[in-house]
């Protein structure tokens, strides 16, 4: 390895292999003559490209992540990210490999005993995927936090593993100052903790499990209505009758109903279903069966989610020259909904499969796609105007980005996390109090106990239960520390089971490989979500309880 200069006063070392990594990445990325390398890369990442796509992968490959401490929690987190093709990482650890590392960390070899841990783990991570750029800092994270806060500015995201709450508080301030996302991961015996800290994280592609079908059967736009007119759903041809897409059937039947009832909507789902059934001729008409199943979309179209409405009503919708692309698009979206959209966000343009002749279905699909395209164009115009108004380049945001935004508009999310200092100072909310008061309050109690253990360590310079001789004494002291924490967060009356206190002392701050692997897995998933801007990240602190194999996310 060679010294790669200093980085804000911190000696950052690069492995010698870095040159080959750079070359490999260049090969991997160049379209020609690296077509083959590209195909190889696509094959290698195939199973994940199917989840987060080319865009997500690009975000991962551009990311520069810092990981503090090279124990199993840090190593496992990085392992999962490196395998997926993370761009580059810097591992910070100031310790040497000891015997215990050989019993809990797979990224350490027997022959590494006595060597510097950051270097050892870094090189074994690199060996796992040579297209990743590996760096390490052979210094304790606490020292770097204290002496070189600016060091953290360069990173996309910082993952702090196995840090006590005092160091975390400082690191969080630094990260917030530089607007770097902080992810906290900790393994403690059979308990784990993961938390995100950043002022704001915006999600466009939330990819919810159950997609809301935004089909507008209840208020078809003119082009859709015109298409419906072209169909004679009472056709005498039985083959045609059973091959008209259910979307057309629903809109037509609803129209007829309204015409017969002075423009009124059916008062109940049952009424609508009866109207559908009356037009059905044979029991095996799949399109009618589908229409009956989907009839609820007419009587109770999917409402806008509260999280989405919260985004629309966010104060950042009032944009200025400092506003991010995201908020400018939200602002345009809000204008669109108040005007052209008539209360609805842009149509996403997707259509579920419908039993139908091919050409009927394709025509319907085209009408949906055209409407989505038109909506996106309207939003785009508004975006350009807004950009001009705030004195910015009107072409600052690409058309592709705006279309992508519009396609996912219904599921926009904004996450804001309290600072770690705030979390530690504040009294907890009623939600947490309720969990703590519940009959089985284990996970809430473990949250309190982890904080109590840090407090214990602050006072006694050791974690509870570290030494056999002081075991009994530590139980009493930990109980007292837990009582302190409880009273500070405003839960004096809550009780914590003696068994849990005993277990925390039994664990004695150990980092078990399997617990670290679970926490490393969760931390890597969250990192991927934060880096790609896809899916929905953790909303609050998470406690993982390996005793019961459960986890709870708290609202603090």
């Amino acid at each position: 390895m060679h010294l790669n200069g200093t980085d804000e006063g911190v000696s950052v070392l690069r492995l010698d292999v870095t040159e080959s990594a750079l070359k490999k990445r260049r090969l991997d990325r160049e379209a020609t003559p690296g077509v083959q390398a590209m195909a190889q890369r696509d094959k290698k990442y195939d199973r994940q490209l199917r989840i987060w796509g080319e865009q997500g992968q690009a975000a991962l490959e551009e990311a520069n992540v810092c990981v503090l401490n090279a124990g199993p929690t840090g190593s496992e987190t990085l392992k999962n990210l490196v395998l997926g093709g993370l761009g580059s990482f810097t591992l910070v650890d100031g310790s040497s490999v000891q015997a215990s590392d050989l019993g809990n960390n797979f990224l350490i070899e027997w022959s590494s005993l006595g060597k510097r841990k950051a270097s050892v783990v870094c090189s074994l991570l690199h060996e796992m995927n040579e297209s990743v750029i590996p760096k390490f800092v052979d210094e304790s994270p606490e020292a770097v936090i204290d002496s070189n806060p600016a060091f953290f500015r360069q990173f996309t995201l910082v993952i702090a593993t196995q840090l006590s709450e005092f160091a975390l508080e400082k690191l969080d301030l630094i990260c917030r100052q530089y607007n770097v996302v902080l992810l906290v991961a900790r393994s403690y015996g059979l308990v784990g903790h993961v938390r995100i800290s950043v002022e704001e994280h915006d999600v466009i592609e939330a990819k919810p499990d159950s997609r809301v079908e935004d089909l507008r059967f209840h208020k078809p736009w003119p082009e859709l209505r015109r298409l419906v007119e072209e169909f004679d759903i009472d056709t005498g041809d039985p083959l045609v009758h059973k091959h008209i897409p259910f979307g057309i059937l629903l809109i037509k039947i609803l129209e007829d109903w309204k015409a017969e009832h002075g423009g009124q909507m059916p008062s109940s789902l049952r009424e609508l279903k009866a109207a559908i059934t009356s037009r059905k001729r044979e029991h095996d008409e799949d399109n009618y069966n589908e229409a009956l199943k989907a009839a609820y979309l007419v009587t109770s179209p999917p409402p806008l989610k509260p999280e989405f409405l919260a985004v629309l009503n966010d104060k950042k919708v009032e944009i200025n020259s400092e506003s991010s692309n995201f908020w400018i698009m939200v602002s345009a979206l809000k204008q669109f909904m108040e005007n052209e959209g008539e209360g609805e966000p842009p149509l996403d343009g997707s259509l579920p499969d419908m039993h139908s002749f091919t050409d009927y279905y394709i025509r319907l699909q085209q009408v949906y796609q055209a409407k989505a395209e038109a909506d996106a164009s309207t939003v785009e115009e508004r975006v350009r105007t807004l950009l001009e108004q705030i004195g910015s380049d009107p072409d600052r945001i690409s058309r592709t980005s705006i279309k992508h935004f519009c396609k996912n508009a219904r599921n926009l999310r904004v996450y804001r996390y309290p600072s770690i200092a705030d979390e530690y100072r504040a009294r907890v909310g009623t939600e947490f109090q309720k969990l703590l008061a519940a009959e089985d309050n284990s996970n809430a109690a473990l949250y309190v106990l982890l904080r109590a253990a840090d407090r214990f360590a602050g006072t006694h310079k050791r974690y509870p239960g570290t030494a056999d001789a002081e075991f009994e004494e530590d139980i009493a002291l930990l109980k007292a520390a837990a009582a302190d924490v409880l009273s500070e967060i405003g839960c004096h009356s809550a009780s914590i089971s003696e068994d849990l206190v005993g277990e925390i002392c039994r664990f004695g701050s150990t980092e078990l490989h399997c617990v670290a692997a679970v926490i490393g897995g969760v931390a890597a998933q969250e990192t991927i979500k934060l880096l790609t801007g896809q899916f929905m990240p953790l909303g609050g602190p998470l406690i993982y309880n390996a005793i019961s194999a459960t986890a709870t996310v708290f609202e603090i």
Partner: protein, 459 residues
């Protein structure tokens, strides 16, 4: 630091020499806290101590089924949890698309057997662990092979394989006359599975917790398209791909077996599907999608495998040592919307065709199959439940009431002594009858004690 004299760098010893050495002192200090100290929330009969640690290191044999995404993680996790004797079975070879998560493999290993490479890599990295690979199908192994392990951990991606192992392992289970499981015949299994950001882990203790078959309904059926839609009214790219795969291949390439692992075959499917899509004005057929549809590819990432495998390994440790409370009993993980990790206590199916005890029936030693059928027809417990019972012993059909070909073929058995048909042993017979909703399992015991093998062996 190490219990060996003299060397400056004891860790630089040759591997053979190292096998002889005891562990470095303090190597397992994290695990020791769990295994050597008394606990407060532990399983029944937890006895902390060196013996316990030595037991998992020396005596407890664990079988890992599958050396893929979960398998690689499991081998690592078990090795670093103190299990010293692990075997792994997998029939697959390494593919490039495994490398984003199967961290024991490298590009140079492509084409090599997964089990072999995985075992080598874990032994290289974790000194002292013994991993024996088996590069074959699970069906190639005799039941006695599985019998030889104390715990079986499943890292599989197929329902069939899970179902097969479950039936085989539950087949080891025997019940006491009072209907409680004979604890000495229980072989615990731990099962994991993942898909994208989601996964599950569960503990199957046959006779105690629900088996795989008891909760088969947890697994959604695969989505299939009607063939006539594919042929006549395709509407999506997947319809076009499935048409070429299921119908056009047979028409255009008669006699040729389609091989999903052949690039040429896959390319042909893709090209034909693209043509068909164009004909029908459908967009979106890509090579990636073609592969996905034809091979039913399940997306997979390293982090989810890590979470699920580590959960399984922890439960394996709990079962082996009782050092903590076992999970209750099916864990679900979802990482797409925040983090959701909960356990569910799903229930055993009391009539499960795989793991239920069966109704005890005691019969005379010399009873014939025909007399046996008459006996159960008149047994008050099955009153109005049986009309024309057919009798099977595992895969052997002793007497079938229908169809006529089988009735005729099995009729000679009616006159034979049941005991002969059951090879002289008590056991479970399956009764099928149109009046029954499912299968009736009967635990048949013969009355006389002179050749009772269980009693003889147990004495």
């Amino acid at each position: 630091m190490m219990k060996r004299k003299g060397e400056d760098e004891p860790w630089a010893l040759e591997p053979e020499a190292m096998a002889e050495t005891v562990d470095l002192e303090g190597r397992w200090e994290d695990l020791d806290r769990l295994l050597l100290r008394p606990g407060y929330i532990v399983g029944p009969g937890f006895e902390p101590g060196i013996e316990l640690r030595d037991m998992i290191k020396n005596d407890c044999r664990v079988l890992v089924i599958g050396a893929g995404g979960l398998g690689c993680e499991l081998l690592k996790d078990l090795a670093l949890t103190g299990f010293g004797n692990i075997e792994v079975i997998d029939m697959d070879t390494i593919d490039v698309s495994n490398l984003n998560r199967q961290f024991l493999f490298r590009m140079r290993d492509v084409g090599q057997p997964k089990a072999k490479i995985a075992a080598e890599r874990v032994m290289e990295r974790v000194r002292g662990v013994n991993v024996i690979p088996h590069y074959c199908r699970i069906e190639d192994k005799d039941p006695s092979f599985f019998q030889g392990f104390q715990i079986i951990v499943l890292g599989l991606d197929s329902l069939e394989a899970r179902s097969y192992i479950n039936a085989l392992v539950c087949g080891f289970l025997e019940y006491e006359p009072d209907g409680s499981p004979d604890l000495t015949t229980i072989k615990p299994m731990v099962d994991g599975g993942t898909e994208g950001f989601k996964g599950h882990a569960r503990v199957i203790i046959p006779g105690v917790t629900p088996c795989f078959q008891c909760s088969m309904w947890l697994f959604p059926p695969q989505v299939t398209f009607p063939l006539c839609t594919l042929a006549e009214t395709p509407r999506s790219p997947a319809h076009c791909i499935e048409y070429v795969h299921l119908i056009q291949w047979g028409q255009d390439r008669p006699g040729e077996t389609f091989d999903a692992d052949s690039t040429d075959h896959m390319k042909w499917i893709f090209e034909q599907a693209a043509k068909r899509a164009e004909q029908f004005n459908i967009s979106g057929v890509t090579y990636t999608l073609t592969q996905g549809v034809v091979k039913n590819i399940i997306p997979a990432i390293a982090s989810t495998n890590a979470i699920v495998a580590a959960t399984c390994a922890l439960e394996t440790l709990k079962i082996a040592t009782m050092c903590s409370k076992g999970m209750d009993v099916f864990m679900q993980y979802t990482g797409t919307d925040g983090v959701y990790m909960r356990t569910f206590a799903n229930e055993k199916d009391t009539n499960c065709i795989v793991c239920s005890p069966g109704v005890p029936v005691e019969v005379e030693a010399d009873i014939t199959l025909e007399q046996f059928i008459d006996a159960i027809l008149t047994d008050s417990r099955f009153k109005n439940k049986l009309l024309k019972p057919s009798v099977s012993l595992q895969g052997e059909n002793l007497y079938m009431q229908a169809p006529p070909v089988l009735e005729e073929e099995t009729r000679p058995n009616l006159a034979k002594p049941l005991r002969t048909l059951m090879s002289g042993e008590s056991g479970i017979l399956n009764i099928n009858d149109r009046k029954l909703k499912g299968v009736l399992r009967l635990q048949v015991n013969f009355k006389t004690a002179d050749v009772d093998m269980d009693a003889g062996a147990g004495g």
